[in-house]
């Protein structure tokens, strides 16, 4: 039995397809954002800023990675959020990842951070440091109203610093890990587009954020 499990584990590990994504502009597609490949602190990074023409929040404002059909597995990326000079006073450094995006960018899941909130004096805002939403029907305000505390949580993080995001996705469940934390900081058990959805992966920002991304790794299972 043990032997069988061992063989199975090997087969699985061969099948799972770990991929470090090269951040070339021909591999990336800007959707409602401006995008550039830059050097920041000696690293090649993708800089992303939301188009001001998009007024709504929690919209498909992201850099899509071409050629990936992702359902289950792990997405890992390092993000760094700065506030733009003209950021509105409610800007929180919104930065994150969208996944299982359909071809027309009209359906996807997303988890993002509000790094500005993590160390403020207001516990309610701290508890809103991490957000799950599902486009188009379950944006943050609806989820917060209908199911408070279910799709948001807290983790320590900072603006202007690299933050490692790792999202483990399996069927209807997504777990978010921040930096080297052993325990997930957000657990979502009912991804709204169901357990079977699959699609592309993207680097997401919202209003007021000058977002930087590097070291994208994807393990497709």
């Amino acid at each position: 039995m043990n032997k069988l499990l061992f063989i199975l584990a090997i087969i699985l590990s061969i099948n799972s397809n770990a991929q470090t994504i090269k951040l070339d502009s021909n591999r990336l597609e800007a959707v409602n954002v401006s995008m550039s490949i830059e050097k920041l602190m000696g690293n090649k990074v993708v800089k992303v800023i939301k188009d001001s023409s998009v007024k709504e929040v929690d919209e498909p404002t992201f850099v899509k990675i071409k050629g990936i059909n992702f359902k289950n597995g792990t997405i890992e990326v390092k993000v760094l959020s700065m506030l733009l000079k003209n950021a509105p006073d409610f800007a929180r450094g919104f930065i994150g990842v969208a996944f299982r995006i359909n071809d027309s960018n009209t359906k996807y899941e997303s988890i993002y951070l509000r790094p500005v909130n993590a160390r403020v004096d207001d516990q309610v805002r701290r508890n809103h440091s991490i957000q799950y939403y599902s486009y188009p029907d379950y944006k943050f305000d609806r989820l917060r109203k209908e199911s408070p505390e279910r799709y948001e949580s807290y983790a320590d993080m900072e603006m202007n610093k690299w933050i490692t995001i790792r999202i483990e996705i399996k069927d209807a469940q997504a777990k978010l890990f921040i930096n080297k934390n052993q325990q997930p900081s957000l657990v979502v058990n009912d991804l709204k587009h169901s357990a079977n959805a699959s699609g592309a992966i993207a680097l997401w920002v919202d209003i007021g954020t000058e977002g930087y991304f590097k070291d994208v790794k994807i393990i497709n299972q």
């Binding site: 160390r119 004096d121 516990q123 279910r150 948001e152 807290y154 052993q182 957000l186 657990v187 058990n189």
Partner: protein, 252 residues
């Protein structure tokens, strides 16, 4: 004559019993003395070290499943003797929470934590405690209730949940049952910040505590269903730090 002396003895014994009930049993752990208030307890050797073990005494303060809020978060705790004027400063303690088996009530969560600014007669105090059972469960809402602040007697957990936006006085922390958890609370005027396991930044903050009592005793708390173990309590009084006002934007 003999009858009279027995009588006196009985009276003396009665007085002794009364004083026992009024002042509670005292236990010594290293150089600290603890007075048990509506908890049973002992000093035992646990994982190689001397610790204070306490459990809520359900005979002293009965629990009623139909009146949960009224019959939990009451003054059942071990009071640190000799420090009656803690106002601002640091409270640090290592705690370990086990669940009683069988459970006295299905909703138990390993409730364990700290009381501070406790009035002499226990009529008012502040508290931050943990629910280690939900610290790592898969239900995010339960996870977000792993840490609780309350102010006795007017702002207990249910009152806070009803009257304030969700998450105002609760938060998450990567805690679990059956392992040592280091809790540090920094108290400064109306603010209390809690640090878990030497994390550099507080994982929980109460910006404006709700109690009127500004100074008092420090205590170690357990509630229904918890076998609580405590060691290495350190209380450091500090002078008030003046905070700078920061502009706040709400709602997001």
């Amino acid at each position: 004559m003999k009858y009279k002396s027995i009588n006196l003895l009985l009276i003396a014994f009665g007085m002794f019993l009364c004083s026992f009930a009024a002042f509670g049993q005292k236990l010594r752990l290293k150089n600290q003395e603890f007075e048990l208030k509506n908890v049973t307890g002992s000093i035992i050797k646990f994982q190689g070290q001397k610790v204070l073990k306490i459990e809520r005494d359900l005979k002293a303060i009965p629990f009623d499943v139909n009146r949960i809020e009224a019959t939990v978060d009451e003054p059942h705790y071990a009071r640190l003797v000799g420090l009656d004027d803690f106002e601002n400063g640091t409270i640090e303690v290592k705690m370990y929470s086990q669940l009683q088996n069988p459970a006295p009530y299905p909703g138990i969560a390993g409730f364990i934590g700290v009381f501070f600014r406790v009035q002499e007669n226990d009529s008012a105090f502040e508290s931050i405690y943990l629910r280690p059972k939900v610290g790592r469960v898969n239900n995010q809402m339960f996870r977000n209730h792993a840490v609780q602040y309350f102010s006795y007697p007017h702002a207990k957990f249910e009152t806070l949940r009803k009257n304030y936006p969700p998450g105002s006085y609760e938060g998450s922390a990567p805690v679990a049952l059956n392992e040592w958890i280091k809790m540090r609370i920094e108290v400064n005027s109306e603010t209390a910040e809690m640090f878990i396991n030497d994390m550099k930044y507080s994982s929980f903050i109460v910006d404006k505590m709700l109690g009127k009592n500004k100074k008092g005793y420090v205590g170690l708390y357990v509630d229904i269903g918890t076998i609580g173990y405590f060691k290495d309590l350190k209380v450091t009084k500090k002078v008030l730090k003046v905070k700078h006002d920061v502009e706040k934007v709400k709602d997001i």
